[in-house]
């Protein structure tokens, strides 16, 4: 045993020495960030495109938020771009996470689109509604129904993931779709009607960058890098809008103009706003988070027994 231990320690010391010596060659820990296709997350890809990330950061695109959540839960991802309600779901599942950046606040970008025959929310009664039930769609739908005083049982629900929303509409699998940009624009283009938007629930649909608790320690440099890149990308959009929107449009399969329009329903908080949201003040995201949790309990989206807690971490803000 003693010999084994000695041999093993020696081997470890030697390999550590070698790794230290050729540190530049050795692979740094990669930060894997999962997202869906959503204008609010696009600056991350823009930053990557602009080579703003100096560290090894891998952006991974998933077809649906459910996939992002699954991968994040299964620790395939170190970080994920999620809506606040999805973070509540993680907390409910007892997965310790921290929010290090507020990406966007939906001010109309999350919507319920319906066939032209359905004029308004009341028209949904008895209709078949497609929703990605594990993700923000469920929250948006439940809030929409709540706001417009419609019972969940008054509608028929179909679980359709975001990537299939356009398809579901075209194949008439549903009368209405709970969705968001760029599907909103795509559906508008083929004649669908917007009957609800997050403008009616201001400040409730918030997209954040979450990381596992331990990633704070293990990927410190990468986390500092990603927030820096984020704000660099925001500046780029402002300074070079044509180039930026052309890049974003190419990814979202819409025109640059539509890409630009897709941001009308979004607010991208500045660094200053971010600091405020991640602070310990009453204006912070924590207030929104607890209000959201309460709302989700009422809507039956989470177990009423749990008391979700969120950790806001502003130390990676540049």
């Amino acid at each position: 045993m003693q010999i084994q231990w000695t041999l093993r320690s020696t081997a470890k010391i030697v390999s550590l020495f070698i790794i230290t010596c050729i540190g530049n060659i050795a692979q740094a820990e990669t930060l894997r960030v999962g997202t869906t296709l959503w204008p609010g997350y696009e600056p991350l890809y823009l930053a990557k495109e602009l080579k703003e990330f100096k560290e090894d950061i891998r952006m991974i695109h998933y077809p649906s938020t459910s996939d992002v959540l699954r991968a994040f839960k299964n620790r395939i991802l170190e970080a994920a771009a999620l809506t606040l309600d999805e973070v509540v779901l993680l907390e409910e599942a007892n997965i310790p996470v921290q929010i290090i950046l507020v990406l966007d606040i939906s001010e109309g970008a999350d919507v319920i689109m319906a066939r032209p025959e359905i004029k308004n929310m009341q028209g949904l009664i008895g209709a078949k509604v497609a929703v990605e039930s594990t993700a923000v769609g469920a929250y948006v739908l439940s809030r929409a129904l709540q706001v417009h005083d419609i019972g969940i049982h008054q509608i028929a629900l179909v679980n359709v993931e975001n990537s299939s929303h356009k398809d579901a509409y075209q194949k008439e699998l549903a009368d209405a779709i709970v969705t968001y940009e760029p599907v909103r624009t795509q559906l508008l283009n083929i004649g669908a009607k917007q009957i609800f938007s997050s403008l009616e629930i201001p400040g409730e649909v918030v997209d954040v960058l979450v990381v596992h608790d331990d990633v704070i320690q293990s990927h410190r440099d990468q986390l500092l890098d990603i927030t820096k890149g984020w704000f660099a990308a925001l500046k780029q959009i402002k300074d070079e809008p044509v180039d930026s929107y052309t890049f974003i449009a190419s990814r979202m399969k819409i025109t640059p103009r539509e890409a630009k329009e897709s941001y009308y329903g979004l607010s991208l908080p500045s660094l200053k706003k971010n600091k405020k949201l991640l602070s310990n003040t009453p204006d912070s995201l924590a207030t929104t988070f607890s209000r959201l949790s309460e709302q989700m309990k009422i809507s039956g989206l989470i177990n009423p027994e749990v008391k979700p807690k969120i950790l806001l971490n502003d130390q990676f803000l540049p």
């Binding site: 041999l7 093993r8 081997a11 470890k12 839960k73 929703v131 039930s133 679980n159 989206l301």
Partner: protein, 575 residues
């Protein structure tokens, strides 16, 4: 061990050691690494399968699920896989028997505790089997049932068995293969190194060695030709030069040695050298001639005992010990003690010839010093002094004896007279001297010739010598004049006794003496002087005895006469 064997052996040894250590170290780490890697793999696989199967379950696509399971089952490290739907019915399993049965009755090895934990937490769980040959993974497979509300869902699960034993086996196989590759690679490197070493170093070193061997055996023409421009070539160049210089010096040395040997061998001196312990190392031909020994009889023998006169050595040792103030052991030290002190020791010694006769020699002993100034031996050079001693004796004979009669001459007579005076003075005794002159000797010489005269003188000497005691001295002063010293008489000396001796001599000489057939008749006149009565000095005694002899002749030949001062005209006239 020669270089040729040592270097390859070392290389192979190190190769072996490196391989064994490498194998051991990696082998220890391997198990842990495989477990960690398997855990990582398991989590990814579970996550992947969850993302693939959940939509299939939601759609009720059991065929899709089954084909996925079959696909996974074909993977060699997959030991088993089971998929249960939210109702707990097995929809796919590596054991076809389980299909459509509740998962609880499957024999695949599902732990119901883990199933419960996985479903309730909607998170994957993994565990190693007790023997750590298996890694088991559980993950929830949840299906939304939106007809029952937004949050309504129910979960089945997926069970996955990873064959760690297979993975370990694979890894070990890999490791053995790698070790063999490393060993082969290292051996190849070792052989390459060896070849390089052989051609660049070993072969050339051996060449140097062979040349030096040849050179040691006497081949002075042997030369090293290496080529190249490295240290070895430089060394061989230096060796060649060294050998060249050495050969030159050696030739000179051999020449000098031969000259020295010739000198030593042909010298008239006996030359014997020894080491510091006295063992003979050189014995030249003169020594052989002198001592009668062959050099091979004496070389490597202890020197003094063989050809030295032992009592002489012991005697000399006593003297030398006194002289040097140290106690010297009789033997070899007797000869070299002085030389050891850096002094030249030259002395007369007696050598003993092999046949036993004694040879007087003059021997000088010198110490031999090496380059550090340490004595490494002694050199004794000796020559025979027998002839010299004989010559000296002869010379003495010439100087002190009368060549005709062999009696002491005037010089020795005077010397003995002085000695006798000295003795008498010390002992307060008396003695007498006779001056004797032959009567009628001139007549014999003139009538019978000098030859007869000479023979007569020899006969007279014989008669005189026989007429006195052995302790008395009979001398011939020249012509027909003889003297006799009669010492050792006490102070109460009786003139009558002396007169009787003189009378006896006269009587003997008055007899007929026959020489060459001639009967000769001579006689003698004797003058006697007595010490101290007739003089204290030799000159006085001689003068007075001579005077008495003349007075005897005057009183008639054939008689003796005591010196009488009253009749001494020289004394009277001097008065």
């Amino acid at each position: 061990m020669s270089l040729r064997v040592l270097i390859p052996s070392l290389l192979l040894f190190f190769t072996l050691i490196i391989t064994i250590i490498g194998y051991a170290v990696i082998r220890i780490d391997l198990t842990e690494d495989i477990e960690q890697e398997s855990l990582r793999y398991m989590n990814i696989e579970l996550s992947k399968l969850q993302s693939l199967i959940e939509p299939l379950l939601a759609k009720g696509d059991y065929r899709g699920i089954k084909s996925l399971q079959s696909f996974k089952a074909s993977e060699l490290d997959n030991k088993g896989i089971l998929i249960a739907d939210p109702k707990g019915v097995v929809v796919a399993s590596s054991n076809q028997k389980d299909l459509l049965n509740p998962w609880q009755i499957s024999h695949i090895g599902i732990n119901s505790e883990f199933v419960k934990k996985t479903i309730s937490s909607t998170r994957s769980h993994t565990q190693f089997s007790d023997d750590r040959k298996l890694l088991e993974g559980y993950i929830d497979l949840c299906v939304r049932d939106l007809s029952k509300g937004l949050r309504s869902f129910s979960c089945g699960f997926l069970y996955y068995q990873l064959d760690l034993n297979y993975r370990h086996h694979q890894a070990r196989e890999w490791l053995v293969k790698q070790s063999i590759y490393i060993a082969l690679g290292s051996s190849l490197a070792a052989i390459t190194l060896l070849l390089i070493l052989h051609f660049r170093v070993t072969r050339r070193v051996i060449k140097i060695k062979t040349t030096l061997d040849l050179w040691t055996k006497g081949d002075r023409e042997a030369k090293i030709n290496l080529g190249g421009n490295d240290e070895l070539n430089h060394i061989s160049y230096l060796i060649n030069n060294l050998v060249k210089e050495f050969t030159k010096d050696e030739k000179a040395l051999i020449f000098n040695q031969q000259v020295n040997d010739a000198i030593i061998q042909s010298a008239n001196y006996s030359i014997i050298s020894t080491n510091t312990k006295g063992v003979i190392t050189t014995f030249n031909s003169s020594a052989e001639k002198l001592l009668g020994y062959d050099k091979f009889e004496l070389i490597d023998k202890q020197s003094p005992a063989v050809f030295h006169h032992i009592p002489e050595v012991i005697e000399r040792t006593k003297i030398l010990s006194k002289e040097l103030g140290v106690d010297i052991e009789p033997g070899f030290e007797t000869f070299v003690a002085k030389a050891r002190l850096g002094k030249i020791d030259e002395n007369n010694w007696t050598y003993i010839h092999k046949d036993g006769h004694e040879i007087p020699v003059r021997l000088s002993v010198t110490a031999l010093y090496d380059t550090h100034g340490h004595i490494y031996g002694f050199l004794g050079i000796a020559h025979d002094i027998s002839e010299q001693l004989a010559a000296e004796e002869k010379l003495e004979q010439l100087a002190y004896f009368d060549q005709l009669t062999q009696l002491p001459n005037r010089m020795l007579y005077n010397d003995r007279l002085n000695q006798t005076i000295g003795f008498a003075q010390r002992n307060n005794s008396s003695f007498s001297i006779f001056f004797l002159d032959l009567d009628k000797f001139k007549f014999v010489n003139d009538n019978y010739g000098h030859e007869v005269g000479d023979k007569l003188l020899i006969e007279v000497a014989k008669i005189l010598t026989q007429s006195v005691r052995r302790s008395d001295t009979v001398a011939r002063l020249g012509g027909d004049e003889f003297t006799v010293i009669l010492p050792g008489l006490d102070s109460h000396y009786d003139k009558i006794a002396v007169g009787l001796i003189a009378e006896k001599i006269i009587e003997q000489l008055s007899k007929d003496i026959i020489i060459d057939g001639y009967t000769l008749q001579i006689g003698a006149s004797i003058g006697i002087a007595i010490y101290p009565e007739h003089g204290m000095e030799a000159s006085d005694l001689n003068k007075h005895a001579d005077m008495a002899m003349y007075q005897a002749k005057e009183h008639g030949r054939g008689r003796y006469y005591f010196y009488k001062p009253s009749e001494d005209t020289t004394v009277a006239s001097s008065d």
